[in-house]
């Protein structure tokens, strides 16, 4: 295991190192989301074809990106937890899952609203939409495993296996619009030849995406710290008593 990862596996070290990061990430998220929303709603142009409805993109696209990135993060953390028995990686994966689910559901809902205005339907069994729905079910299954299995060690291993196997869905989602003829349009931003979008739209989109990312990191750190504090709480009395008994070294 890499040395840095080993150090962060210690809850004390992790808590001490990451505590100063929480507030900056929270503040950055608030500023970026506010700034991005204002630019997206008032200073970015409408689309020549879709008109004002294009503004749903600034909520929909970052949510969809985050749904994928969160799952990728869970899969990597699960691998680290599974192979090296890194307990903190398991906790990080578990705490990220509900946020990933929220991003995926938000992407589907805003996508439906946008689709209703542009395509004419909320939902269609199109490859992109179907594969994102599978992602929602993977998140639900992953969360359910943690809820159902009482033994934390067993739960971590079972959940990690599902997370790693389910990662096969990520490239399917990303390339669904290229592999199959779909209702959903192809990638605009991450594609060969650069984004096919003017800077006046790309700027607020990237600001919003960065805001979503900061919000995710903020909540993830808060949740991990809460879990670690809860784990520590009942033992505090015993350990401090032991400390008092132990001779000073």
């Amino acid at each position: 295991m890499p040395n840095a990862l080993e150090k962060l596996a210690n809850p004390e070290v992790f808590t001490r190192r990451t505590r100063p990061l929480i507030l900056p990430f929270g503040a950055a998220a608030a500023v970026l989301l506010l700034l991005g929303s204002v630019i997206a709603l008032f200073f970015s142009p409408p689309d020549f074809r879709q008109g004002e409805s294009v503004r749903i993109m600034y909520v929909h696209v970052p949510a969809a990106w985050m749904a994928l990135q969160t799952y990728a993060m869970i899969a990597v953390a699960s691998l680290v937890g599974f192979v090296w028995k890194h307990r903190l990686a398991d906790i990080a994966a578990r705490e990220a899952a509900t946020m990933g689910l929220a991003f995926a559901v938000l992407a589907i809902i805003t996508g439906g609203l946008w689709g209703k205005v542009t395509w004419g339907v909320f939902w269609d069994w199109d490859p992109r939409m179907t594969s994102v729905l599978v992602l929602v079910f993977l998140y639900l299954g992953y969360i359910a495993i943690w809820q159902v299995i009482e033994n934390e060690f067993t739960a971590a291993r079972a959940a990690a296996i599902l997370a790693m196997l389910g990662a096969v869905n990520l490239p399917i989602i990303k390339f669904s619009v290229d592999w199959w003829d779909s209702l959903h349009q192809k990638a605009t931003v991450i594609r060969e030849g650069g984004p096919s979008m003017p800077a006046s739209m790309l700027t607020p989109l990237l600001i919003m995406a960065l805001g979503y990312t900061c919000l995710f990191v903020f909540f993830l750190l808060m949740r991990i710290h809460t879990v670690l504090a809860k784990k520590k709480a009942p033992q505090r009395k015993a350990s401090s008593a032991r400390l008092e008994e132990a001779p000073a070294s």
């Binding site: 020549f48 879709q50 599978v134 299954g141 495993i145 779909s182 739209m201």
Partner: protein, 149 residues
């Protein structure tokens, strides 16, 4: 180390919970793929009436220029083209506002024996390009000027 009982319990949990969950996810994906492999036909790849029978299919392409006609009682007729072949389409209802000539469209319905596609749903399809209206107008004007010389 886990006792044999715990090991057996782990294996049981894996078999009863994780494997079905994964199998379910894969099954859903495969169903999605098999359904969407032919998500839509282009006019040039459209099977014949004999091959299709009364099966409902999707037809994707561009609305041919000058072909969009709206009649009484929301009767709509247009031609879907992919530059190689054309398929005439009829539809009764209100089209999504993005449906226009030279724009992408997906029609869902049945191919009649007369070669006319009767759609019960028409969806507008847009591509991945975004642009501000003023810029688009300027670009079009520039292209027109270019064409004049």
């Amino acid at each position: 180390m886990a006792t044999p009982y715990e090991k057996r319990r782990q294996r049981k949990l894996f078999l009863t919970l994780v494997l079905p969950a994964f199998a379910g996810a894969v099954a859903l994906s495969l169903v999605a793929i098999s359904q969407t492999q032919v998500y839509a036909y282009a006019p040039s790849t459209m099977p014949t009436r004999q091959e299709l029978g009364t099966r409902e299919v999707r037809l994707a392409g561009l609305v041919a220029e000058g072909s969009l006609r709206t009649g009484a009682d929301n009767q709509v007729a247009f031609i879907v083209t992919d530059g190689v072949a054309d398929v005439p389409v009829t539809f009764t209802g209100i089209l999504p506002s993005l449906v226009a000539e030279n724009e992408g469209v997906i029609a869902q319905g049945k191919l009649g024996s007369d070669g006319v596609f009767t759609a019960d749903t028409v969806l507008a399809r847009h591509d991945e390009n975004y642009e501000a209206p003023e810029v688009m107008k300027a670009l079009e004007e520039a292209a027109e000027k270019q064409a004049e010389y």
